[in-house]
């Protein structure tokens, strides 16, 4: 048949189906009449003739159906009818439809939301050109730390000039500068970079240009899209304008596109840069051999060079660098170097968390599917009679299957559409909760990839839902179904078992989720119970950074802070004001030190401690208790003995059972020429990097003996700390109106920020577990309630024969509890196997924590009991007379 003919008949059948139908009807009728006439001519009576004709014809509707089936366009046509019929069926059962659609929407929505994060963070390539050839080059000093560390400045040049494995290597270093010129000075993230960074990453400016290789003077700047928009209102004439950074004038030479976000978390250089300036190493930086490992190096591997030879190449260079170190240093520091795939360093940490959450949401999704499948099974049992009637009226089984599949598809797609709305709402909520160390979240959203995922999910689920219950109902035995009179049908034992099995699976999944959430909850509880070692209530903090060239000499810096401290201490509502180079929970630097007369036990690790420079009564302001000796006083200045306050754990470790007051230590190794510092006080341990990390030894030095340009102010306030923010700002600006007052926050906020990642995983997992609990309760309820309805007759007989209500109740509840216990046994085994994946997310709780397991069993059993109890009570209320009258 030619194509045009095919198309014509297709269209005819599709669009003129009414006319075609009427024509067919007329034709079959005329055929019928012709048959009757023929029969009469053959000598039959009119009645006989009609009967014979009908017999031969075999049913007008069947003939019409056969013709329809054989016609082109028929499939589409009947699919349309299937859907229309499906809509009617769903509207006829609004309760069923609402529950099924909402359950599906919940499952699909939650899964879509989490997938959108997984897609943006894990699945998509990094937003740079050919990102799979990009690596981060790091150095290693295994004796000091097992983890690779950033590179020191002179080594950057060695790696750049001596390697044979990279097309190019670009160094960069994150910093924070004060940007002035707007309404008030603002701290911005600046990245000092090599000129080749942009070509290496494939970034093209949308305005102006990037650095030229010989642009060594740090007087030009490239803006990020975000800063250009927010600080300069997207002014098109921005290129060529001047901006003031740390009171120095820079000329804007270009603007980068919105898609260029650099550096990402995991690259060691802090938050994404607001602007870029040339790295322009100073002579002092380049003289810092073997010290200040602060610079990151990103590289693009030469085509054809694999990671292993590149690593060997770098290692060789590191070895040559070490050879140039002075002999006493060489024995202490064994330098290595390594290239890490950029992608791994960026998403490595987040991958586990996100996969874990995706696994959890997949469980919830499965539970949703099971509930809907159970609903559909129930319904298909109820509809056996309808199916039987339709079969006996001549519908083919294939046709019925298709019909049922269409209904399930319809259900799933409505659920998916609603789910997308739910997802778009929850993605926003999710982004608000997201900890800052998850990279690339700007790509999270309902983009085509995510929509495709949802569509695929809906199609698969719709088909499965269509096939499984459809199979159950299309096996209907016509005669049996019709025979049983008005009351319909019995539930086949296989179907009953299937539903029971589904509930068991559901309980298993819920159990695993609940145990996971329980363990996280217990960890979080443990962390909140952890003593931070200070009193965070009513403390306001802010960060100040005095930079060259305005603050060149120590005296300039001392002058500023002296005046500031005076003003802050005179503020009403501020009993204590101090400042420190590091705030608690904001991880400071580790310093190598040598205690006087300390004999390290064999195999001891290097002596490292956190070190803070403090100004004024900082320790009193945060409420760190003095255990021995004294706090610093005004007499501890540049002309007096160099003194130190140490933490309790340092004193205990290095001078056990001795009085630490008067002991001495110095920076660097044994041979270092640094002066000895005398301990004058011991304070309690303050959590320095995070609540869930063991406190490391800590030392404090007076600002007047070691002047530091960047300090964090800490004010103990009599009222709400936030109310003092503007007083703090104006105090600073009354001394220096161009200085940015950054990160104004209460100490409580500092603590809460440090727990954001845990809060995020806990919140989500707890949410999923609660959903799982509720959904599986609904699932159990559904199955038990249905079986009670099915067995009303039996219950009636039992009660009539003298069964006590208690017996009936026990019968029903034990049926549900059997499923529950089975599910919990499997769930416990599953949880034991799977909670090991939680390992790094737990704190102070073992993955097999018996308290958690028992609590989960109790909660799950309680909720499930309730889910069985309600239908069981209904069963006991069965009036035997009414139940039996059904007969």
């Amino acid at each position: 048949m030619s194509l045009s003919l095919k198309l014509r008949s297709f269209l005819r059948n599709l669009f003129f189906s009414h006319r075609v139908d009427a024509d067919l009807e007329y034709e079959v009728h005329s055929h019928h009449n012709l048959l009757i006439e023929e029969n009469i001519r053959a000598g039959m009576s009119p009645e006989e003739a009609q009967r014979a004709a009908r017999m031969e014809l075999g049913g007008i509707e069947q003939v019409k159906e056969e013709v329809r089936d054989s016609r082109m366009g028929n499939w589409l046509h009947s699919a349309f009818f299937d859907f229309r019929y499906g809509v009617r069926q769903l509207r006829k059962n609004p309760g069923f439809t609402a529950v099924a659609v909402l359950t599906l929407a919940l499952g699909i929505g939650a899964t879509t939301a989490i997938f959108s994060v997984v897609d943006a963070v894990i699945l998509r390539p990094l937003p740079y050109r050919s990102p799979d050839r990009l690596v981060l080059v790091k150095e290693r000093i295994p004796k000091v730390t097992p983890d690779p560390i950033p590179v020191c400045a002179p080594d950057v040049l060695h790696f750049q000039h001596e390697n044979h494995s990279f097309i190019s290597l670009a160094a960069f270093r994150g910093d924070q500068f004060d940007l002035a010129g707007g309404t008030e000075p603002r701290r911005v993230h600046v990245n000092r970079t090599n000129a080749n960074l942009f070509s290496l990453l494939g970034a093209q400016p949308i305005l102006g240009r990037v650095f030229t290789p010989d642009e060594d003077q740090p007087t030009v700047a490239i803006l990020s899209y975000g800063l250009w928009q927010h600080e300069f209102a997207g002014a098109p004439g921005i290129v060529g304008r001047s901006v003031s950074l740390n009171r120095q004038i820079y000329t804007v030479i270009g603007v980068l596109p919105a898609t260029f976000i650099f550096p990402l978390p995991g690259m060691d250089q802090g938050d994404a840069a607001d602007l870029f300036i040339p790295i322009a190493f100073t002579p002092e930086e380049l003289a810092d051999e073997g010290d200040n490992f602060n610079y990151s190096l990103v590289g693009r591997l030469t085509p054809g060079v694999a990671l292993a030879p590149a690593n060997a190449d770098l290692q060789l260079i590191a070895h040559r660098i070490q050879e140039t170190y002075p002999p006493e240093y060489r024995s202490h520091v064994i330098l290595g170097a390594v290239a890490l795939p950029l992608r791994d360093t960026v998403i490595g940490k987040s991958r586990t968390l996100l996969l874990l959450l995706f696994g959890a949401v997949a469980f919830v999704f499965l539970i949703c599917c099971i509930n809907v499948a159970n609903l559909l099974l129930t319904r298909s049992t109820d509809r056996q009679k309808e199916m039987a009637v339709r079969l006996s009226l001549g519908a083919s089984r294939g046709r019925l299957l298709r019909q049922l599949a269409a209904e399930s598809m319809l259900l799933t797609f409505i659920g998916a559409a609603l789910g997308l709305a739910f997802a778009s709402w929850s993605i926003n909520a999710l982004l608000g909760l997201m900890p800052p160390d998850i990279p690339l979240i700007h790509g999270v959203g309902l983009n085509p990839a995510v929509l495709g995922f949802t569509l695929g999910l809906a199609v698969i689920v719709g088909l499965l839902f269509g096939i499984v219950p459809a199979f159950a109902s299309s096996r209907t035995n016509v005669a049996d179904s019709l025979k049983e009179g008005g009351r319909g049908t019995t539930q086949s034992p296989q179907l009953h078992r299937l539903r029971g099995a589904l509930v068991v699976v559901e309980v298993t999944l819920a159990m695993v989720l609940l145990v996971g959430a329980g363990l996280l909850l217990r960890s979080f509880q443990r962390i909140l119970e952890t003593q931070p070692g200070f009193h965070p209530e009513q403390v306001l903090t802010a960060s100040l950074s005095l930079r060259e060239p305005h603050y060149k000499e120590d005296s300039d810096i001392q002058n500023f802070y002296e005046r500031l401290l005076q003003r802050l201490q005179n503020l009403p509502g501020v009993p204590i004001a101090g400042a420190s180079s590091d705030l608690p929970l904001q991880a400071g630097w580790n310093h190598l030190f040598t205690p006087e007369g300390y004999q390290p036990p064999p195999g001891a690790s290097t002596n490292l401690c956190n070190h803070s420079v403090i100004l004024g009564p900082y320790l009193q302001a945060i409420g760190a208790p003095l255990l021995r000796g004294r706090y610093f006083t005004d007499q501890d200045n540049s002309s007096s003995t160099h003194v130190l306050i140490v933490s309790d754990s340092l004193a205990r470790r290095y001078w056990p059972n001795q009085d630490p007051i008067g002991k001495r230590l110095k920076w660097g190794p044994e041979a270092s020429k640094d002066p000895w510092l005398t301990v004058v006080g011991v304070v309690g341990d303050v959590k320095q990097s995070s609540l869930d990390v063991e406190t490391s030894p800590h030392t404090y030095e007076s600002f007047w003996q070691n002047t530091t340009p960047s300090l964090n102010v800490a004010l103990r306030t009599s009222n709400d700390p936030a109310s003092m923010a503007s007083a703090l700002r104006s105090s600073v600006w009354s001394i220096d109106p161009q200085l940015a007052v950054a990160q104004i926050q209460s100490m409580d906020q500092v603590i809460s920020k440090s727990t954001t990642p845990r809060r995020f995983s806990l919140f989500l997992l707890a949410g999923f577990a609660s959903l799982a609990l509720i959904l599986s309760a609904i699932g159990i309820y559904g199955v038990i309630a249905y079986s009670v309805v099915r067995r009303v007759h039996e219950m009636g007989i039992r009660i009539a024969l003298g069964a006590q209500r208690r017996d009936v109740m026990r019968l029903v509840i034990s049926q549900g509890m059997l499923l529950l216990v089975l599910g919990m046994v499997i769930g416990t085994l599953g949880a034991l196997a799977m909670t090991r994946a939680l390992g790094s997310f737990l704190y102070g709780v073992r993955p097999t924590d018996p308290v958690t397991f028992v609590a989960v069993v109790v909660i799950l059993a309680g909720v499930a009991f309730l889910a069985c109890y309600i239908p069981a009570r209904r069963a006991t209320r069965v009036d035997p007379m009414i139940a039996l009258r059904y007969e």
Partner: protein, 110 residues
């Protein structure tokens, strides 16, 4: 119901319908009786198979239909061969000849 015999039967039925229409236009019952007659009762075509076949063949373009009056002045739908239909009859006849020759040969083999 079973697909295999149907497909064989379908080709056969098409051929028989084409053949009976070769002598002139006819309505459905006429075609059915004609087939019964020319196959000496071997094939009795029920409306359930006849009408789908007629409609399909019409979609294929082998036959065309029109409403006319029967010998007793009853309205009936008549079918007649189109040009492609005649062509198809030749093709099918030739094909059938080959098949039946081949089958006969096969069955005669010792």
């Amino acid at each position: 119901m079973n697909p295999e015999p149907t497909s064989l039967l379908q080709g056969t039925l098409d051929l028989l319908i084409l053949k009976s229409l070769a002598t002139g236009e006819m309505h459905g019952l006429g075609i059915s009786r004609r087939i019964q007659q020319i196959t000496q009762g071997t094939f009795v075509v029920k409306p359930g198979s006849l009408f789908p076949a007629l409609h399909r063949m019409q979609d294929e373009g082998w036959i065309s239909s029109f409403w006319g009056d029967s010998e007793n002045n009853r309205r009936a739908k008549y079918y007649r061969l189109t040009k492609p239909g005649r062509k198809q009859l030749e093709v099918e006849t030739e094909r059938w000849g080959r098949i039946s020759w081949a089958i006969a040969r096969a069955l005669q083999m010792p």
